[in-house]
Symmetry: C2
Subunit: 436 residues, 2 copies
Amino acid sequence: MNIILLSGGSGKRLWPLSNDVRSKQFIKLFKNGDEYESMVQRVYRQITTVDSDAKITIATSNSQASAIKNQLGEKTSICVEPCRRDTFPAIVLAATYLHDELGMSVDEAVVVCPVDPYVDNTYYEAVRKLQELTETGAANLTLMGIEPTYPSEKYGYIIPATGENVSRVKEFKEKPDIETAKKYLAQCALWNAGIFAFKISYLIEKAHSMLDFEDYRDLFNKYDTLTKISFDYAVVEKEESIQVLRYRGDWKDVGTWNMMAEVMADQTKGKAIMDETCVNTNVVNELNIPILCMGCKNLIVAASGDGILISDKERSGYMKPYVEKIETEARYAEKSWGTYTVMDVQPGSKTIKLSMRAGEHLTYHMHNYREEVWTVVAGKGKAIVDGREQFLRTGDVIVIAAGCKHTVEAFTNLDIIEVQLGDEISVSDKIKFTLM
Amino acid sequence: MNIILLSGGSGKRLWPLSNDVRSKQFIKLFKNGDEYESMVQRVYRQITTVDSDAKITIATSNSQASAIKNQLGEKTSICVEPCRRDTFPAIVLAATYLHDELGMSVDEAVVVCPVDPYVDNTYYEAVRKLQELTETGAANLTLMGIEPTYPSEKYGYIIPATGENVSRVKEFKEKPDIETAKKYLAQCALWNAGIFAFKISYLIEKAHSMLDFEDYRDLFNKYDTLTKISFDYAVVEKEESIQVLRYRGDWKDVGTWNMMAEVMADQTKGKAIMDETCVNTNVVNELNIPILCMGCKNLIVAASGDGILISDKERSGYMKPYVEKIETEARYAEKSWGTYTVMDVQPGSKTIKLSMRAGEHLTYHMHNYREEVWTVVAGKGKAIVDGREQFLRTGDVIVIAAGCKHTVEAFTNLDIIEVQLGDEISVSDKIKFTLM
C-alpha cells in the first residue's frame, strides 16, 4: 500500500489534552497490549499489520513533525507544509513529494486518509482494495464511503448511482438536516470521510492545470502564496470519472470527548480514584496530583497543565467556544528532544521543567531579553555556552545571561529546572545559530 | 465577653483544600465586602462586632499557630497545646493560661466555642447571654443548645427539663437514629454543639481534682502525659448543676463540601468557567490553570496543589475513607513567613516555590542530606549562609550545600524557586540553630 496520511491541525475539541502545539492524534489513550498508544501510533500499527510493506507518508505541519518523529521514529516519511493551506495544496505537495523526493512513479496509485478515525483493521483492507481499484484505471478518482449507522447532520454525503459495493458517484451533498439525511439513507448514501485514491499522474496533471509551479521544491517555496481550498471543493466535486467503494465496518470520528470516552482503553488514565457510586465516568489525568470522583454520573474529566475539563459527556461536543475564550499559553509540549512543562509563571519570571531524551540536543540559540538559570535535577549531559563546553550532572547550576548563545546535549535522559528571568519573557525571543 | 475558641484538628472532610497542615477554618471562602475571609477571620469579626472589647483566646495546636497569626495578626491570644489531647486537657490548659499567664481573675466567666460553625451575629449575642447567666452563679455549667431544624443523626442531644429559654438539663443523649431523634424533638431537645460557659474557678478546681499539676507552666510541661478525654465526657455529663440556653438562630456545621457550598460567598472562586447548562455547581480553584465545567449538575469541584475533588454534593460527606487512601504529602502550606508550594517531585529532587512576606524570615537551619539551589524570581532580601551575609535580588542564585546553615530575610515580598537535591529529601531533615 501507498498511503498519504493527513495529520490535521491543532484542535480544541479535546482540550485540555489537545492545544495549539499538541493535536489529538498524539494523545496516548489507546492500548496495544499493556502499552498506551496514540491515534497516530495505532494507525501506523494497523496499516503495517495489514501490509508490512506499506509506504506511509504523513502530510503535516511543521508544529507536528517533532511529535510524529517522537512517536513513530524514522518509520514513515514526513511531508511538512511550510504553512497551513487546506487539503488541496497539502495533497498536491504530498503527491509531488512522493514523485520528486521519494522517486515514486507517476503510474503508482496512492490513497489519502485522515489520521484520526478510530477503525479496526478491516478499514485498511478496504484501503488496499481502494488502491487496487485505482490501479485498474476504471476511474480517475476512487473514494471510500462510510455506510452510515444513523442519519447524521455532521457529515457530507456521497450519493452513489447504485447500492453495489463499488458504484459510480451520482452526486455529493453538503451536511444535511436530519430529515434530509433520512432521505439520503433511503438512496444508499454514504458518509464522505475524506478518503480517496488516485494515480500520481492524475493529481500532478490536475495540479499543473490549476497551479503555476515546476516541481516539489518550487511548490514548497511558493506554498505561502497558494489559495486555501479543500481537495473536495477543488477536485472531487468537479471530477466526472469518479467511483466509490462502500465500507461497512466500524468507523468512529473521535472528535469529541464523548466519542473518545467510548474508545479509550481504560476508564481512567493517570492518578484517579472513583467511589463506587460513579457511573459512566472517564478520567484522563496528566497532572501529578490525584483526582477524586464521588458520585459522578456520565462525566468526562480531563486534566493537563493547560487546564481541567469537567463535562457531561453529551455536552462535551459544545465546548469549543468556551475553550477559545481561555487565553493560556500551552503549558506542556512535546518537542523533538523531549518534553517541556511550565510549572510557574509570574511577572518577571517563568519556571519550566525540561525533560530531554538521551542522545537528543537543543538547537544552539540565544535570547535577547531573558536570563536563564538551569539546575540539573537528574542525568548527565553537556552544555555549550558561548562556545565553551561544560559537562553537566545532577546538581549542576548554570546561569545564562541574556545575549549568551547556548545549547545542551543529553548523554542520559536529562531533567533540568529552568528559571527564566526578565521583563519580556516570550517564546518568540529565540535566535538560532549553527554550532561550528 | 471572654471567649475561648477551640480551633480543632486538621481535617480531610474539605479535602483537597484542607490537609494535614491546613485546616478548614483557614480556607478563605466567605466574604466581608469585596475581601475573602476564612472561618476564623469571620468569627473574629462577628465577635468583635457584638462586643468590641471581647477578650478572645484561641486554643489550638502548634501546627495552626502560624496560620492564626497570618490571618488575625496579634489581635487574639493563642494558647498552644504541645500535642493533641482532646478537649478536656485543651480547655483546662486554656483556663489556666487565662488565669496564670493573662492574669484573669478566677471569678470571671468564660465561654468555650468551637471555631467552625457558620452563624450570624445573633449567635454571639447568645454567647454574651451565656456569659451573663454564668456570672449569676445559678449553675456551675451553662450550655448553649441549638434548636434543631430537623431530626438529625449527626449530633448529640441535650434534653432540657422544660421547653423554656433557660432550663435545667435533664440528661444528655448520644447521636441517635432518626426515629429516636424524632422522639427527642418532641421533648424540646437541643443539639449539643460543644458551647459551654463556666467560671474559671470552677474549672481550675475541677481540673485539680482530676489532674496532678501546679499551674499553667507545669501542666504545659506534662501535657503529653495526660489522658485523651473529651470535656463532655470528663465534665459535662457528670455535672449536676447544669443549665442550658436555647438558641433559635441560624447555625450551620460547615463540615462537608455540601454545607460549605451553601454558605460560600460566590459560586466560584479562582479560575473557573461554567457553560450555561451547569446547575447548582460550585467551583473552588486554587490552581493557576482554568477549570471548565460543561453541563455539570449538583457538583462541587475543589482543586488545590494536593489534588482535585469532583463530587456530587450529597456524596461529598462520604469522602473521608477515599481521601485517607491518598498518600500525598501536602503540596501547599501557609507558614509564619508566607507560603510554600511544591511544584515538582521526582527521585532525587523536589522543586518548591517559596513566597515570603516583606519583613519575615526563615529560621536559621541546615539539612544533612540535601543541597538546595535558590533562584530569586522577585523581590529583595538578605541571605545568611554559614554566617556570611549576602544581599539578594531578582535573578540571584545561591547554592547551599548539605550541612550548610542558612536563612533568608525578606525586605520586600520575596519569591524564590528552590530546587532540593539529594537521595533522601525529607521535611524532617532540618536542624534549627539560633542566629548569633
